[in-house]
Amino acid sequence: MRRVKYFPEVMEIEAYVYTAGPVGTKWLESLRAGKLTAAYCPKCGRLFLPPKMYCPFDFEEVKELREIAPVGVVETYTVVERDFYGEPLKERRVLAFIKFPGVEGGLIHYVKTDKPRVGMKVKPKWRDERKGLVTDIEYFEEA
């Protein structure tokens, strides 16, 4: 590259440190405790994911999480063959959008299965050592 013509630059801050919000923090804590929860709106009574401190439907303040049955339904899925850099994965992975009955929204997560299908009932496979991350669920598996 001719230096006089081009000025290369990498536009990255070294690190971002994001906050999860007060309700999001509680949600992550419940994951660490091995519980699946959803945000509960006291006004419209909806349960929803992702958790946040306001109801996206009516703008009401949300403080409470309610435990939900850890059984979801695959709404749609894909099969990942390559990694972020385009290299083939050792093992192909199923990534699904999972909805939980009575809950608005849902979760994207891995599903360990050879035969994924829409409508498949799945449950979380919890890690033994949990850190308060969505990856405390290692993957979902057929329920």
């Binding site: 000025f7 440190v17 994001y18 906050t19 919000g21 007060p22 946040k52 306001y54 703008f59 303040e61």
Partner: protein, 395 residues
Amino acid sequence: MTSRNINFKHRVAVVGAGLTLFRSKLLETPQELAWLAAKQALDEAGLTLKDIDCVVIGSAPDAFDGVHMKGEYLAEGAGGIHKPAVRVFVGGATGVFVPIAAWWHVASGLCKKVLAVAEEKMSHAARPHTQYVFRYIWDPIVEKPLNPNLIWIFAMEMHRYMYKCGVKKEDIALVSVKNKRNACGHPSAQLCMPDITVDDVLKSEVLVWPVQLYDISPTSDGAAAVVLASEEEARRITDTPVWIKGIGWTLDTTHWTNRDLAYPEYVRRAAEMAYRMAGIDNPRKQIDVAEPYDPFDYKELHHMEGLGLAKKCEAPVLTREGVTQRDGDLPINPSGGLLGIGNPIAAAGLMKVAEIFWQLRGEAGARQVKKPVYTGLAQAWGDLMQAGTVIVMGV
């Protein structure tokens, strides 16, 4: 004074305002901060989200919150889902540009009630420092190779102003002292310093001479919101609407080497546009209270002069004489400004608009200025330090 604002379909009023805490780091997500401010503004107006026709969102670079397309991301917390929503962005000038854009939504007749929300979460850009976001605003050919720091510009601008006007650092420090003390009356304030003195400012760490630590506003997280309504709606909502009488905005060149560093031409032109609309020909006499943009103490002086609230080089004199204090003849930044309340970029500008709204309604509590006020002004400044946005409000 009568408005010359005769070409517009609808007069526009502010009918509610909301503000989060300003802090160096808040737990709430950017969406949640937007919601906190939006909800408060709606509550104050006695409205709910259902009443809102359109939403205007303001936020400075995506790089602070670390979420690309921040407008779309913020839309839900700002109440913009399934409504015409738009994000506007003119850097630090964004906060005052948000109600300007919301104004034309209503003045045009397109929307009757608009929620205008500004948010910034600078703490996300964590390492090495929030300032790093500003590494990429420079001209890549003539400036970037020098490894410039943002404060360079301000140091040189401040020094030029000091030189041209014969201003001492002691005079400039008075602004910081006034604003950090004023902030003690503000429930959102990050830097209330009731006992700060000029000496403290002069003894604070020198960052880039002549800029010292207490000459600068902090980095902050926060959000602000206002609700705008057409005249018909406003009169239904409240007995005390605050009218938007004039708006103005301009850009100067991005090359700061090609601007008059001692005098902010971008503010003068934006102010002239707003004054023409508001029918103001003697701002020093007709503006009762003002919130000029003060991320640095000297910028308050600079901007007062650009706004015609002081003659060239006169702002330090007015400051020394106490004219700009809360109980003075021309209260300037009675809120505590960015120097005192904090500086979550876009939210800081909109905070100033909220302050003028509360001052004109007599609802500023401990911050209420002593004299009766009928006409107020808020101004912000940003982009590559050359965008000026001005709003004149009145009761």
